[in-house]
Subunit: 135 residues, 4 copies
């Protein structure tokens, strides 16, 4: 199955005074797994940018089930859950030793970086997104 | 109407290499307006914590309509949109010169900081949340 | 005297589990005052960038005297302390009700954004930096 | 030799609109290597906290030689460079494929977390800091 996976050690920087990871910082973890998802597809987000495409986030949703804490080693996983026309949805999960901490998704526009407008991706990238979404 | 409002000048720190504010950083702006919302109710979040109550985020949703940019002066606004039993929902909007950039909400548990469990807030705070939610 | 001044309300996001502002976040506060310093000189950093100049930080030093805490309203102040050839040094202070919390400086290269190399700034900007440094 | 070493993949979140890592974010990388340095000494910072000791940063210095960029895989290294009485200095370096990007140090107070005052660490920890500093 096509997925982006990475491990991440929580630094003090990510915590807040309640003693848990600050709620906004999980979105950076989502990004880390999305970057690995791209790499797993055989090209990096950097290469996509060089081909003139960007994937700006147009919607994000996060469900916080259990908090991550300082020095936790968490596993982050991203999969493409849908792809249609000019949009891509990526689902993410953050776990610690199998236990689900945080889940959610990001919806992305597929953008022509020169015009700043939504665009259909080139055939090879579209095929990969479609294949990944069908899994 | 009971609302939390603040202005915020976007620093370079909030931007990413696409030239816009990074998607996770808007959640910090949401928090800034929530802090002012509390203050507008006559007590601060700090005072609530001193009374043993916390409002951890259990769900967040963000819709990115238009990007904020470096040095933009944005207006952030938070209102309580629902309150029931042990949950509170706060709706947020970020605008630049009236134009809507980002909107969303956060759902909060009302938590007893000593036990770590959900709890009903004391009468005076509950009354205030309920009144704010009805507006 | 030419100075950049701003007030800043500490959000939960800036704190860590020790209950104070995380040490790296003060550098963002330094930036906020530097932005205001530029504005006080009659142009913004944004305008400088449009003229093809950047001020990347090549050195930073921070002395942490007392911690800032959540919901503190701090005052940040930046002044140009030296300017010579292709370098600029900015001194910063963060105070709460007059009490010094954090001080330090950043050293900046003056960079031609097209070539990526150090450069002397155009006459009008050089004059302003020199005047500010002499105060 | 006693050292803390870790690898870190730069996310989009760490960059700013100049296209490089924002200067404040390197301090989080320093922290990541310091955490590993502790682990290499046989106990974690978390365990030190449980024994009532903290290591708040009282001074930080950073020299930015070359910028890190999005998707770079950097190596971060921390060593104890001095230990005397109630202070500890940690030197850090960030490299990409051997090339030095950023270097600097943090000076830490050794703090009794209950009193909030500087303190000498217990014998076993002091011995370890002293041995590491002498290498």
């Amino acid at each position: 199955m096509l997925e982006g996976i990475c491990e991440y050690r929580i630094p003090y920087a990510d915590t807040d005074q309640m003693g848990f990871v600050y709620y906004g910082n999980y979105l950076v973890m989502f990004e880390r797994a999305r970057n690995e998802l791209m790499r797993a597809m055989g090209f990096t987000y950097l290469e996509m940018e060089r081909r003139g495409l960007g994937l700006p986030v147009i919607e994000a949703h996060v469900k916080y089930s259990r908090p991550a804490k300082y020095d936790d080693l968490v596993q982050i996983r991203a999969v493409i859950s849908s792809f249609s026309h000019v949009r891509l949805r990526v689902d993410c999960e953050i776990r610690r030793d199998g236990e689900l901490l945080v889940s959610g998704y990001t919806m992305h526009a597929i953008m022509n970086l020169q015009t700043g407008h939504a665009t259909r991706p080139p055939e090879d990238i579209a095929r990969m997104f479609a294949a990944a979404a069908e899994e």
